[in-house]
């Protein structure tokens, strides 16, 4: 235990399907057990939400005082990274993982703070809800009508050493809300009418159960493949080995269109489940990338950055015939599946066969092409 500072800390994530299921409470209860066994544990950040039981459960645990941060004339309280690193406990509890830090104070996101703590050899236990997982962002929006802004990339959760699903039947959660245990009355009423509808809760719960099962599977059968996509030059490897035949290689076709973000998430999620390598590729017909109109260029760059943040390897290609250039790249790099967004169709079908997406489908007869729907939120 003493030489742990050399080693990277271990991460435990308490995963719930909504606020109020008891993640923080469970984390605190387990913390008391650890302290009883003599573990040096501190609370780095706790969000008590004025919940009586949670506050009571934190008693007797050492808390690192929060840091006050001024921003645009207001004062905010944030986790005090410097104090935690100086104190260097064996285990640090960090509540509300998806939190966005006040600008101008260290990392942009709390999960980045957690990475720093882990790098410093501190074990971290943290809490989050399933709807904050980046690759589920569109599904959550489709189901609940809510676009969750504070997201955590899937790879962060994947590297957790332990994932604990904190479960509570939706009915019981609704009772808690109605009793005012989760939020104060006004907020509880609004929540009950919106996000906390029973169908939403049941659906989110199912997704959380499946996600946890998936993470358990990934941990049980460690992938022999490297975590990051292989270097593209490896395309020139000798003849395909059986592994190449079995393993999918996914290419996400990036454009300037806003739906690309959804496509990247979908491609990432499918790749994760298929244990596939994933690439994001943009093709321009202009001679130089900088010849693109500024707005288009910026949108494409934003999408490519987004893809890289999700640990997807990106490429920008140039070619007069976009479909041909994309397919040439795909063949060279043994892509098995191309992901594209379903086009928006005008009323008049016109020459459907000449639409770019349809042309790619027609010409990519040697690989799978997935046309991803843009799900609407229509209920």
């Amino acid at each position: 235990m003493d030489n742990d500072s050399e080693k990277r800390g271990q991460l435990r994530v308490y995963l719930g399907y909504a606020a109020g299921v008891g993640k923080t409470y469970q984390m605190l209860a387990d913390a008391h057990e650890l302290v009883k066994k003599g573990t040096d544990l501190v609370i780095g950040y706790l969000e008590p939400h004025n919940r009586k039981n949670t506050i009571a459960k934190a008693e007797g645990l050492e808390t690192i005082p929060r840091r006050r941060v001024g921003y645009r004339g207001s004062e905010f309280e944030e986790m005090d990274m410097a104090a935690i690193l100086a104190r260097h406990p064996a285990v640090c509890l960090v509540d509300e993982l998806p939190h966005t830090n006040t600008p101008g104070c260290g990392h942009a996101k709390r999960w980045e703070d957690v990475l720093e703590l882990l790098d410093a050899g501190i074990h971290v236990q943290t809490t989050m809800n399933i709807q904050h997982l980046e690759s589920l962002n569109d599904q959550v929006w489709n189901m609940t009508g809510v676009r969750v802004r504070e997201t955590i990339p899937d790879w962060f959760v994947r590297q957790a050493d332990e994932l604990v699903m904190v479960d509570l039947p939706p009915r019981a959660l609704l009772n808690r809300l109605e009793r005012g245990v989760v939020y104060e009355p006004a907020k509880a009423r609004a929540a009950l009418q919106n996000f906390f509808k029973e169908t939403n809760l049941v659906a989110l719960r199912e997704i959380a159960l499946r996600q946890t099962a998936h993470e358990v599977e990934v941990h049980t059968q460690p992938e022999t493949l490297p975590e990051t996509p292989e270097a593209l030059d490896e395309a020139h490897r000798p003849a395909a080995s059986p592994r190449d035949v079995l393993n999918d290689r996914v290419l996400v076709y990036v454009t300037e269109h806003p739906s690309t973000a959804m496509l990247i998430r979908r491609g990432r999620r499918v790749s994760d489940y298929l244990h596939a390598d994933c690439f994001a590729v943009f093709v321009h017909a202009e001679m130089d990338f900088n010849d693109l109109p500024a707005a288009k260029r910026e949108a494409v760059e934003r999408h490519l950055t987004f893809a890289r943040n999700l640990h997807i390897e990106t490429r920008v290609l140039q070619g007069a015939d976009i479909a041909a250039t994309l397919l040439e790249f795909a063949r060279l790099h043994r892509i098995t599946q191309i992901f594209m967004v379903r086009p928006r169709y005008s009323r008049w079908q016109g020459f459907l066969g000449r639409n770019l997406i349809h042309r790619i489908v027609r010409h990519a007869r040697d690989m799978q092409v997935t046309i991803v729907a843009q799900r609407r939120q229509d209920h």
């Binding site: 802004r149 499946r210 066969g353 349809h358 007869r365 997935t370 046309i371 729907a373």
Partner: protein, 367 residues
């Protein structure tokens, strides 16, 4: 990090115009704490719920416990009223008649998978529970995944053992509430004496525990999915996308059906999802083609797909109707081996499918 352009909506305050209170699911009657191995704390959660309900003024009794109760749970039990087990020649059983006479609001029943001794009212304890439920008594119980009848094959694959005392899966599906009691194996293995179960169970490796855990989580998801489906049906709500991947293989003449079905199976397994396969019967379908399609459909069934033959003059329309009704997330379709030249301009059936598949992914397979 999101690059979407939708207007910002606060996650818990979104006000929608058509807000209407949803009716709740049936009143709770049976609640099951489900765990993947003994020692995760199911009994403790069950007893604690009994204690809390008593605090809220409910009339709670303990109907039956496990044969071996961990010492630290005994204190919890002492705070509750216990109906003694009925002594029989061959052992003990829950005293159903005594509980029915006492008629509490809530009855806690542990060891629900136990066989009752000879001469008992029912051969199985879970049947005793059904009697209590029929008498309008709320039952809270705990169940270990390894004791579910239909999961014995899977459990044996992991642990090499079957158990003799089992509960049918439908018992779980009938529960109004299930709670998964989830503990990572690492934590379970760490917890030595105090939290460990008093029952001397077999020692499992971390890997076996993980596999059992995955099985339990997926079973719970399955139960929850059925609840969701019932709820949606009962309230005529729009079907939701994305709680689970559901793959539909669209079989058409002249496509590479075996490859599509094999990939469908593999993908459904990877996604822990469901697999469907259909073909559409219409006037222009040649008899020989239909015979082939029927054969592929038989193969699909052998692969564990749910299969169907649809009718409709417009195959694309019939397919999409089926896809919507079954909450399909991905349609697998194939390139035909030959193609008319005019498709290049006007589009062929595949292009029409892509166009019609609003809300569903379409994966096109080579031939």
């Amino acid at each position: 990090m999101s690059t979407e352009v939708e207007p910002y909506k606060d996650e818990e305050f979104l006000i929608r115009p058509e807000v209407q209170p949803e009716h709740h699911l049936q009143h709770e009657r049976l609640k099951v704490f489900l765990g993947y191995v003994s020692g995760v704390g199911k009994s403790s959660r069950m007893l604690d719920e009994g204690r809390r309900r008593r605090l809220y003024g409910q009339d709670v009794v303990v109907g039956a416990l496990q044969r071996h109760l961990p010492a630290e749970l005994e204190q919890l039990v002492h705070s509750l009223e216990v109906i003694p087990l009925k002594k029989l020649d061959d052992g003990e059983a829950m005293d159903v008649d005594a509980i029915l006479r006492r008629h509490p609001q809530v009855c806690l029943v542990d060891g629900v998978a136990y066989d009752n001794p000879c001469g008992s009212k029912n051969p199985k304890r879970w049947m005793d529970v059904e009697e209590l439920l029929a008498a309008q008594i709320v039952v809270i119980t705990s169940l270990n995944l390894q004791h579910i009848e239909e999961r014995q094959d899977e459990v044996e694959k992991i642990t090499g053992r079957r158990v003799s005392e089992t509960v049918p899966e439908r018992f779980l599906y009938a529960a109004n509430e299930i709670v998964i009691v989830d503990v990572p194996p690492e934590l379970l293995l760490e917890r030595t004496s105090p939290m460990a179960t008093a029952a001397p169970g077999p020692a499992y490796t971390a890997r076996q525990l993980s596999e059992l855990r995955e099985l339990a989580l997926l079973l719970a998801a399955e139960v929850v999915d059925r609840q969701l489906e019932d709820y949606i049906r009962a309230h005529g709500l729009a079907l939701l996308w994305g709680t689970q991947e559901r793959i539909l293989v669209f079989l058409t003449p002249d496509t590479n059906a075996p490859a599509m079905l094999a990939s469908g199976r593999r993908n459904a397994d990877r996604f822990q999802g469901k697999l469907f396969a259909v073909y559409v019967r219409h006037d222009r379908l040649a008899a020989g083609d239909e015979a082939h399609l029927r054969q592929h459909l038989d193969n699909a069934r052998l692969l564990g797909a749910q299969t169907d033959v649809l009718d409709g003059d417009d195959p694309v329309e019939a397919l999409m109707e089926f896809a919507r009704a079954h909450r399909v997330t991905q349609i697998f379709a194939g390139h035909p081996s030959t193609e008319h030249w005019w498709y290049r301009f006007l589009g062929g059936p595949l292009d029409r499918l892509i166009r019609a598949a609003e809300g569903t992914d379409v994966r096109v397979f080579p031939h």
